[in-house]
């Protein structure tokens, strides 16, 4: 089991009851990967299942969403294989296009 903070920024909070910050406990034996967290989010946190494609595409985070592990691009941290630590902050933010 691991306790992390999960943030949905850049408008993504609309599919999470408009809550930007969530305390999440993933009830699973270590190691818990970011892939496991995504599965947990899909199964337990997206209020309306029709909204899943807004967040997930082809079993990973949808193109156009930036994923951050403790304020660092997940590409630098192992992406889906990253093993969560207690206290980690995992942030997802849509890219914005308006100007």
């Amino acid at each position: 089991m691991v306790k992390v903070k999960v943030e949905f920024l850049g408008g993504l909070d609309v599919i999470f009851n408009k809550e930007r910050v969530h305390k999440v406990e993933v009830p699973q034996e270590d190691p818990v990967t970011l892939k496991d967290l995504l599965d947990y989010i899909i199964d337990n946190m997206i209020a309306n299942k029709n909204d899943v494609p807004v967040f997930i595409e082809n079993d990973t985070v949808r193109p156009g969403i930036i994923t951050l592990i403790n304020d660092t691009d997940w590409e630098l941290e192992g992406e889906l294989e990253y093993e969560l630590q207690d206290g980690d902050i995992i942030s997802f933010t849509s890219t914005l296009h308006g100007g």
């Binding site: 807004v54 949808r62 193109p63 156009g64 969403i65 691009d73 914005l96 296009h97 308006g98 100007g99």
Partner: protein, 297 residues
């Protein structure tokens, strides 16, 4: 006549004095050398809207020598809550011409070049050529890919801003031809129906305005040498005007990936080339989905 021995006029010393006395930490230029760098700089701003309005005013105020403005849109009353370089008397005027008038009123020393045209794969190279820096102040993903692709091919750095609602983002692309490009961050474009790709979404004027002013800060930093090939770290800033859980406003700086070895545009063996862009074989419209973003809630 021989050229004047003094590189700035008395009027310019008076106008820029308060910024010339700011002492910058090494290796950033300050004083006269910094002012001369600004004066000889050529900066292209694409989009004279919510981001471009304040960015243009502050860069003109700072004394950037040449400012190019690309925008084929006209001023509409519905723009004026956030596009503060225009005004009610200029409704139906081309935005690039309205912006030029405001810049000339603020600082007649600036040379303004207007491009009242839609940026396309066939005119982008010609427009970009010769500029030292590009500010992407546009509002559709397809244009963001096009700007990044062309800038990579020409070796020009891009300060890229965007925003919607009460949030905004800022990053630097293709820094000195070694930083990551837009495709390094987003190899696959977002589906057109996705939440925040809505170019018709609402926006709080000063929230997008904060980001436009921050783009001017980044542009000045680039010109005066705050960033070098040695110290540059790719970043993405996320600003929130109404962060909700706390008082005040929030700004987060995320550490981002470097250039991607397999990037379609900026890698050593790119599938995207000047030729493929100009020939129209990179279909930006198709690539980014339909331009109809009205599907968003």
């Amino acid at each position: 006549l021989p050229p004047s021995p003094n590189p700035l006029s008395l009027e310019e010393y008076n106008r820029y004095g308060r910024q010339m006395i700011v002492d910058m930490p090494s290796p950033i230029e300050s004083g006269l050398p910094a002012q001369l760098k600004l004066k000889s700089a050529k900066i292209l701003i694409i989009g004279a809207g919510g981001l471009g309005s304040p960015a243009l005013l502050y860069l003109a105020g700072a004394g950037v020598g040449t400012i190019g403005i690309v925008d084929n849109d006209i001023v509409d009353t519905s723009n004026l809550h956030r596009q503060i370089i225009h005004d009610s008397h200029r409704v139906n005027m081309l935005k690039c011409e309205s912006a030029k008038l405001s810049i000339q009123n603020l600082n007649p020393n600036v040379n303004v070049v207007t491009y009242p045209t839609r940026l396309t794969h066939s005119n982008a190279f010609e427009i970009f050529e010769g500029y030292d820096l590009i500010l992407d102040c546009t509002d559709t993903p397809l244009t963001r890919y096009l700007i990044s692709d062309v800038a990579v091919k020409l070796g020009i750095t891009v300060v890229s801003g965007s925003g919607v609602g009460t949030e905004a983002q800022l990053t630097i692309l293709n820094f000195m031809n070694m930083g990551p490009c837009y495709r390094c961050f987003f190899p696959v474009p977002p589906p057109p129906t996705s939440v925040a790709s809505c170019s018709e979404g609402g926006v709080i004027g000063p929230c997008i305005g904060v980001m436009g002013v921050m783009m001017a800060v980044e542009a000045i930093k680039f010109i005066v040498g705050a960033y070098t090939v040695e110290n540059f770290e790719p970043y993405l800033v996320l600003y929130s005007g109404f962060p909700g859980t706390s008082s005040g406003q929030s700004m987060r700086t995320f550490k981002m990936r470097r250039r991607q070895k397999n990037c379609a545009c900026c890698s050593n063996e790119p599938s995207i080339t000047k030729e493929s862009i100009e020939s129209g074989s990179i279909n930006y419209e198709l690539f980014c989905g339909s331009r109809n973003y009205n599907v968003c809630q």
